[in-house]
Every structure is written in C-alpha cells, then in structure tokens.
Symmetry: C2
Subunit: 239 residues, 2 copies
C-alpha cells in the first residue's frame, strides 16, 4: 500500500526522499488556490518561478506576469496573487509566469519528484482521485510562511489525508497531526483559522474575501501538474 | 506581554531569533525526561554533548557517561537513555555527560538564548512557573526525530502553552496547532500517542514502560537550566 507523508516547510524538504514519489505542493493563502483558479478560468499554462527578475523576463511574447511579496502585488507586474484577479476572462488562453513569497518556491523545490501536483481546497477531490489512481507514495509539501509552519496548509494536508486514509498508510507524525487538526477544524475551517497568523496578516491587508474564497472545498475540477518547465491542467489534457 | 512560540525542529531554528529569549528544549522520548529524572535522583550536573566521541572524553574523573543512538544504548558507556537507569542511587551526587539522537542537539543549538531550560511532562508546572517569573519571550524547541516533526514534543509544547496562555501572547501558528493538539489529547495522552511513529519505534524496542513513565505530568519539581557549559538544577540552587 502506498504511503502519505506531510512536510511542514520547504526548509525540511531535504529530510524527504522525493524520488519516485508524488508531491502535492500547497500554499492555500494564496498561491496554489490562485493557480487552480487561473486554470479553472482558462489559463493555458503557468510558469512558477522563484525570483522577481526571473518572472519579469517572461513579459512580452504574450505571457502575463504575476508577482506577490509579503501579501502584496509587486510593482510592474500584470497580476498579483488574488484569485479574483484571474477571473472574468483575464487569463483565458494565456500563459502566466508567477512568483510568490512561499508557494512557487515549494513547487520548484519539489521537482525531483516523479509527479508534482498543485493542490488547494478548491480542487481537493480532483487531487485525491488522481493520487488514488497513481498509487505512488505521496509527500504533501506545505509552503508555510517564510519557512515556518502554517495552519492553513496543514489543514489542507489533513483534508487530503482524510480523503485518502482508506487507500494509503501513514508513516510520519506530521501526517497524524494534520489529520487531527483537520478533524477539529472541518465543521468551520474559516473560524478555526481566524486566529492564525497568515489569516490575521491578510485580514490586516483587507483580503477577507480572498480567505473565504480559498477555503471553499471542491469548487473546481482542475489538476495542475508539472511538465518539464511549467504547470499544465491535466484535467483539460485528459478530457 | 511576553510571547510564546513553538519551533518544531532544530532544522527550523535558524528562523527564530533566540537573543534575549528563554528556550525550553524538549525531547519527551526520552532525553529531557531522563535528564529531569536524573536531577530528581540527585545528579549534580549534566553535560549534554552532540557527539559520541565528545561524550566518551568525559569518562574518568568521576563523570558518568550516557549515550543513545536510534533508541538504543550505545556500547561502551555507563548509561543509556532510559529514565529508570537513573534511579536507585545510580547518579546521586554525580556529574553525567550525555549524548542522544535528538535531545542533546536541541539543547546545544539553543545556547544563543538568554536562558535555556530543559522541559518534560515530568516537570511541566515547575518550568511554567519559572517562565511566568522570568517574563522573557519564550521559544519551545522541539527536538523532533532526526529533524522531523514529532507528536510527543508537540503535545508538551501545547501543554506548556495551556499553562501559560493567560500571561503570554502567541505569535505563530505552531503555537496554536500545539495547543489544539494537546487539548484533543490531554484526557489520555498515552492513547493519543499510540499511533505516533516514535512510540511505535520504542514499543518495538520493548520500552513501553519508559513511554508511560515519560508522559506523567508534574512528578518532579526540578528545573534544569544551562549555565556556562552544563545543566544544573536551579530548584536545588534556589532552595
């Protein structure tokens, strides 16, 4: 039986052997939620990059650029990190290069894995179904906040474990803790998270609606996966 | 108001500024529980060291040596890492040099702090009372298992936050998560931990009794703190 582990920070990733495994990279507030939203609204592909300058180099040639640092849209880019700015035709048919404080880093540091999938509450069931089909060992890589543990990515990890516990074994304590926390939170994830550091950070920035949006479960059936140098939506490819 | 943060692994310690703060180093199974037990049974001082060779160098001159790797007593040392071997006069009045897989590392990597305290369920209230008196910002440093998150150290962190939440603010999500997990576990910590990786590891080694012993709350009123190059029991000094 395949196993599911949880890694609470990119800073702990060197302790995990990703070879031959599937990684689910998650940054609920907001990078991976936003990527899922972008694909749901027709984005063709997404180039997650680590540095602002790398991202800027994609501008021109029809590629949109998106950048966020410390919760705020970086100056001189087409888009920030709010899922709402990826709706209403803004990204339909377009390529997007994106860099964020935590999320794009978690994705790029996971490239050694056999399969890298972008997960969010918004596409939870689609990700779980894909993992059940793959039957590879899974590592959920939480983006955290600047290397630190965060609660919202942990709750997503717990939700995914909750979906998969019939078919997967668990080998680490982070997996158990995530499941316990999700079970305590799931009747009202938003209220459970109200005390958390990043929700307070975003509420201070006036992004209350983004938080509520990103906590919705199974809004979209998209499946962003890493192929060569970019993310594509495997749900579109397979349909 | 002073704050209390939790660090889930020595591998994340570079993200915390320890200067001017109090660290509580914890390795419930079993290093810090064993050190607390040793002081309760009359140990004069304890030299926590990181390497086996460093520890061996303390032998002779009346100093006992203790070493554990991967849950097992290392060959050629006086003592292992079971609290039971520190009772019945074995360490009364003696100095002990000790090295363990995780716990001694957590202590030594925290030396930049203003005060380093060794915590365990066994001396929970004594540690909490000392922190309330100090009124320094606190970082609970969980030893984990070879850098990975573990559940028993996290539950101790949650128990300490539970004791201190009236007098301390919390600034990070690890603190919140630890408190939630302890609240879920506290009616029966032993059963809550039965699924955890390290408890299973120790039960495979036949150390069931050690686990039950280490989960007892407030058995001893000892207060091991770091002074210059060693741990001493501040409760003895102050009495």
């Amino acid at each position: 039986m395949a196993s599911i582990d949880v890694c609470y920070s990119p800073e702990l990733l060197h302790l995990y052997d990703l070879k031959g495994k599937a990684v689910v990279a998650v940054d609920i507030l907001r990078a991976t939620s936003t990527m899922v939203t972008a694909f749901a609204h027709g984005a063709r592909d997404i180039f997650p990059v680590m540095e602002l300058e790398e991202c800027r180099a994609f501008s021109g040639g029809g590629c949109l650029t998106a950048a966020e640092r410390n919760g705020i849209k970086a100056e001189g880019f087409d888009l920030g990190n709010s899922p709402f700015s990826y709706m209403n035709g803004a990204v339909d048919g377009r390529s997007i290069a994106i860099t964020t404080t935590n999320g794009t880093r978690a994705i790029r540091l996971s490239e050694a894995a056999e399969e890298v999938i972008v997960g969010a509450f918004l596409n939870l069931k689609t990700v779980a179904r894909h993992l059940s089909e793959l039957q590879l060992d899974v590592v959920v890589v939480c983006a955290g906040w600047k290397g630190q543990f965060n609660l919202e990515d942990t709750l997503f990890a717990g939700a995914l474990v909750d979906c998969l516990q019939q078919d997967f074994t668990s080998e680490n304590d982070a997996t158990l803790a995530s499941l316990h926390l999700y079970q305590a939170a799931k009747t009202d994830v938003f209220n459970f998270l109200r005390q958390s550091s990043h929700v307070r950070r975003l509420e201070n920035l006036g992004i209350h609606e983004d938080v509520q949006f990103c906590l919705q479960h199974n809004l979209y059936e998209v499946l962003p996966v890493w192929r060569q140098d970019r993310l594509i939506d495997l749900a579109v490819v397979q349909s």
